[in-house]
Symmetry: C2
Subunit: 315 residues, 2 copies
């Protein structure tokens, strides 16, 4: 299992290439919730989401020989863009496997960062099959979206940065998709504070980790249904699950319909764009699922790559 | 004429009540323009625009007796909200005179900050007449939107903060409405640097200061036509004009149609909401009106209170 020094090492690798994103706050939000809340704004990260951190750290850990072979990722969203941009910076080849119905803007963005896009079928199995075939044929190195220690260490720098800016947090809320972000952040949080509670947040329609956490075994759902597209994984990774069970204090859920009001608040009051998945942890604080009062809380905004159609819907 | 120490004094008054807004940057924008550009994000200021600074500084300078009488402002937008919030903090009465066709959301926001809204006719003359009548009748103290030294000193803290963060700027681009923001910022800029060029930016449809600057006399337009609603003043103030002639190096214009692409870039690439007036100075940098290369530039985003209908239009 990785430890805090791995995250610190990742931070030194990433320091010069990532944006140190700000902690944002809103008096209105604090008054509404009765807590002192800080939003870690990874929507301002390069490629518009935290995913660049893990992808870059992973690729930087490869040998020259491995890098020469090129990397592959399967992703319909931010992970693909993270791998594409990190590869571009290292000057290596990248292939991103995307479902053939992917949003055009995401495909264009991924290509724009220099990746070759290969289309596949819609199911997770399809994606994995296509990826495996390409890997077998061309020898690409897989950059897994969450079940990878180097990647987790990279995502953990989100947590490390939060504690650079603010020491005495009571709670840290982190969204859970495949579990890469929360496992890295939880290690960082527990290193810095013995009293902090780390809370994972999912939507009800993709509550695999919520179930896994309660049953203390890794549950894989047969399907998910949520507007938070970054949470449409059927289960967290095995590496992630072990870390979550060790360091995370609770996993909670919100409803899909709690997401839009949070996104709208971000747009109207805080003047920032947040994607549905990025609004999940803040929405849990807004709904005050845990009934907190007078607490110092950080919630991670994981990304800001919101489809313009969804944005219009919200407005 | 006010000097830098007035701005420094205003900063000490404001420090604990304003947000110190960040300087944002975008690699993509820098690559597109060939310059190193920093955006001073006053869209993150309280009430969503820099206007809170000047209003608060002005009200803080009043005597107890004056504050007891209450304050009045005429404004269809951010200045009214700034006066309303500052008054609320001081626990005094505020009246905001707004045209009867004002956007409902702006009226609601102004009321939401605790002001009493009085409607008036559409012309500047109507607004001033209504304001004068109320002032005469009730003894309110007028908080002018730009032609006031205490207010200018408050707006100048935007410039002061920029130089706290970054010392060696070549250029500072500032939007011009009534001239309060640029006159304060220009004094701050010239105090900190002898080499910096301060550039004022207007839209072609509201180019009163552009004309005044060239003719070296204060021109008042008979009408204006621009989507940048914060620039729909017929002329800058007399106090502002004197400062502009002394400290500003050039006044340039952009077209209204240059504004939307800049707003879209802010939304899509930088994940922030900027109102049309707030995008004017950045748009002049994007269009590279002055043909700059390799320069270190700051451009002020004056506010983020964009009408949701306009935002939908842009998307």
């Amino acid at each position: 299992m990785i430890i805090y020094s791995d995250i610190k090492k990742a931070f030194r690798v990433l320091e010069s290439v990532v944006h140190k994103t700000p902690l944002l706050s809103s008096r209105t939000f604090n008054e509404m919730t009765g807590n002192e809340v800080y939003f870690k704004a990874e929507n301002f990260q390069r490629i518009g989401a935290f995913k660049f951190r893990g992808a870059y750290n992973k690729i930087s850990s490869l040998t020259d020989e491995e890098r020469k072979r090129g990397v592959i990722a399967h992703s319909s969203g931010n992970h693909g863009q993270g791998v594409a941009l990190a590869s571009k910076i290292f000057g290596i080849r990248s292939v991103v496997v995307m479902p053939h119905n992917s949003v055009k803007s995401k495909v264009e963005a991924t290509k724009g960062y220099g990746a070759e896009v290969v289309y596949c079928g819609l199911s997770t199995d399809d994606r994995e099959k296509t990826t495996r075939e390409l890997t077998d044929k061309y020898g690409y190195i897989l950059v897994h979206p969450y079940n990878d220690e180097k990647l987790i260490a990279g995502q953990g720098t989100v947590g490390l940065e939060i504690f650079q800016d603010i020491k005495d947090l009571d709670y840290l809320f982190v969204p859970i998709g495949g579990g890469g972000l929360i496992s890295g952040c939880a290690i960082a949080a527990k290193h810095h504070s013995s009293k902090i509670k780390v809370i994972g947040v999912e939507t009800e329609g993709a509550n695999d980790c919520y179930q896994s956490f309660r049953q203390k075994k890794l549950i894989k759902l047969s399907s998910v249904n949520t507007i938070a597209d970054g949470m449409r994984t059927l289960s967290v990774g095995s590496i992630n699950f072990d870390i979550i069970m060790k360091y995370v204090d609770d996993v909670i859920t919100i409803k899909d319909e709690d997401i839009y009001p949070m996104m709208k608040f971000f747009v109207e009051r805080m003047k920032i764009l947040v994607e549905p998945t990025g609004a999940v942890a803040p929405a849990a604080v807004m709904k005050n699922v845990l009934g907190l009062k007078g607490k110092k809380i950080a919630a991670v905004i994981s990304g800001g790559n919101v489809d313009l159609e969804i944005l219009k819907d919200i407005l």
